[in-house]
């Protein structure tokens, strides 16, 4: 455990070198909120609600979605490892006295931890700046459940990105897969539009996939406080996390036997 704590400290120290860049990226949140306000103000010109959302509820939705979406930093690191696999440099992870997956999880969580604090500061500024567009949570209990589901969803994303990374052992180029994944995920997690805007039949299908619970469901809990699907949500989230964890172990054991890195 000590080695993973050390890795975590080193990761955060390296991130602190380019503080201005991280803060600048966090400032982009203002921009996204600005886009949301402009577009949705135009949509709400002649109506007060849309699919049960008022304009403040929808803006609050986008503010929180943007904050939560920036916390996951596993893709960037996953792309880096994928490139190292392609070049045969993955050996350095094998020879170290640690599990590559746990190393990946530790670094990803450390980066997310750092982003969380920067993003939270920006979130507070945004909430004060656009307070007329912000709604309070429906209930604190729902918020706590939302946080739990966000953590489960983020952990799933870490596993998902790692899984794509180890596909580099089979495919020469996976960078396109990461891009494709980002594009699809932005829709599936409700980043582009609340999933409740889609037809009910589609939403019901989405409930059985983990993406529904990454961003959309936690924010929906905040806004509506509707906890009627909690047990289904918990079962689905946990099942996908455990299932993917096992899948990664199985796939990794198979591919590492045929790995031929530099110096091996």
């Amino acid at each position: 455990m000590d080695k993973y704590i050390e890795i975590s400290k080193i990761t955060i120290k390296s991130l602190l070198i380019y503080k201005a860049d991280v803060i600048g990226t966090a400032l982009m949140s203002f921009f996204k909120v600005f886009i949301a306000i402009i577009l949705w103000s135009a949509v709400y010109q002649f109506q007060t609600t849309l699919v049960g959302y008022t304009l403040p509820m929808l803006i609050t939705y986008y503010i929180i979605i943007d904050f939560l979406q920036k916390i996951d930093q596993s893709q960037e690191f996953a792309s880096q490892i994928a490139e190292e696999i392609r070049k045969g440099e993955f050996s350095k992870y094998i020879v170290k006295p640690m599990n590559p997956l746990f190393y990946f999880i530790t670094v990803s969580i450390s980066k997310s931890f750092y982003r969380f604090f920067i993003g939270f500061a920006m979130l507070l500024i945004i909430l004060v700046g656009v307070q007329k567009y912000v709604v309070a949570p429906a209930s604190m209990e729902a918020v706590l459940w939302g946080i739990l589901f966000f953590l489960l969803g983020s952990f799933f994303l870490i596993l998902f990105n790692y899984f794509i990374t180890i596909l580099s052992f089979y495919f020469i180029e996976v960078s396109s897969l990461f891009v494709l994944k980002s594009i699809l995920l932005s829709f599936l997690v409700g980043e582009l539009i609340p999933l409740s805007f889609l037809p009910n039949a589609i939403v019901e299908v989405f409930r059985f996939f983990p993406f529904y619970y990454v961003l959309y469901y936690p924010v929906e809990l905040y806004l509506s406080g509707d906890m009627s699907h909690l047990s289904t949500a918990l079962i689905v989230s946990l099942s996908w996390n455990i299932g993917f964890f096992i899948l990664i172990q199985i796939v990794y054991q198979k591919i590492i036997k045929n790995y031929a890195g530099v110096g091996i």
């Binding site: 380019y18 201005a20 860049d21 991280v22 803060i23 600048g24 990226t25 400032l27 982009m28 921009f31 996204k32 886009i35 402009i38 577009l39 135009a42 949509v43 010109q45 002649f46 109506q47 849309l50 699919v51 020469i172 180029e173 396109s176 897969l177 891009v179 494709l180 594009i183 699809l184 932005s186 829709f187 582009l192 539009i193 805007f197 889609l198």
Partner: protein, 263 residues
């Protein structure tokens, strides 16, 4: 000019040869772009299943706008995106030297060196959406309309190139530009999602003049649907010319203080 076209043609031939070796890469690039546009169309159709118009624009104006943006974005991804995106890296590593020593405009050479043919096929759905929307909007397909539309596509292709290049030229002065790249990405996202008709007041000045992403697909749409006022013709040309001058100034100043790998 002939030399530049000749170079472009040679670059295309080399890319075709390369892409035929990695056939999968070609199709993955096409699928990625296609899915991106498909999702954007899906988002707008979802919104329009709940509303009838947004600031005077109905479903078909929006789909014409999206189709136009698809065409512009495809041209960008095909011709200069992958070349230009590496520009800050060339400055940091000193690789820019190689391009400076060639007897051809370095910016042009960098832009076309990674032509991505995988995206070309996305022109088809883009044009199909534009034509379908034009039919629904009862647009008159006169020679003037078609030529004018292609004029604006060409004009705003150049504008998108200048808008992409401008933040990257700052690499002459700054080491790390990730947040500017993120801003560039957000602004492109903005241009894709928010037509210029939505902007009012200060936001209109910002997104029509200072960061003219609001013009890009909006003006061709307004032109084709015969609602474009004369002043926006002048504005469009003035903005593109101004950005061209800005790029020239930034490039000249950047090159003066560039000192290879130690920049």
């Amino acid at each position: 000019m002939i030399r530049l076209l000749d170079l472009l043609w040679t670059s295309l031939k080399l890319r075709i040869s390369r892409d035929l070796i990695y056939g999968m890469q070609f199709w993955v690039a096409f699928c990625t772009d296609f899915i991106l546009f498909f999702i954007q169309v899906l988002v707008f159709y979802t919104i329009f299943s709940h509303v009838t118009d947004i600031n005077g624009w109905g479903k078909y104006q929006f789909s014409f706008f999206i189709g136009t943006f698809m065409i512009l974005d495809t041209l960008k991804m095909v011709f200069y995106f992958f070349g230009t995106i590496s520009f800050p890296n060339y400055i940091r590593t000193g690789e820019l030297d190689v391009y400076l020593t060639k007897p051809i405009n370095p910016l042009f050479l960098i832009a076309i060196q990674k032509i991505n043919l995988g995206g070309v096929l996305n022109l088809v759905p883009g044009f199909l959406i534009v034509i379908y929307s034009a039919i629904e909007l009862k647009v008159q397909f006169t020679l003037g309309t078609i030529l004018g539309y292609f004029f604006f596509l060409t004009l705003f292709s150049f504008l998108l190139y200048f808008l992409m290049l401008a933040p990257r030229l700052l690499a002459f002065w700054f080491v790390k530009l990730d947040f500017l790249m993120e801003l560039d990405h957000q602004l492109n996202d903005l241009a894709f999602k928010v037509p210029g008709v939505v902007y009012q007041g200060v936001s209109k000045i910002i997104f029509y003049i200072l960061l003219p992403f609001g013009l890009v697909a909006t003006i061709p749409t307004q032109f084709a649907t015969s609602v474009l006022e004369g002043k926006y013709w002048l504005l469009s040309i003035a903005v593109v010319v101004s950005y061209a001058l800005l790029i020239m100034i930034m490039w000249k100043r950047g090159i003066k203080q560039y000192s290879s790998a130690s920049s």
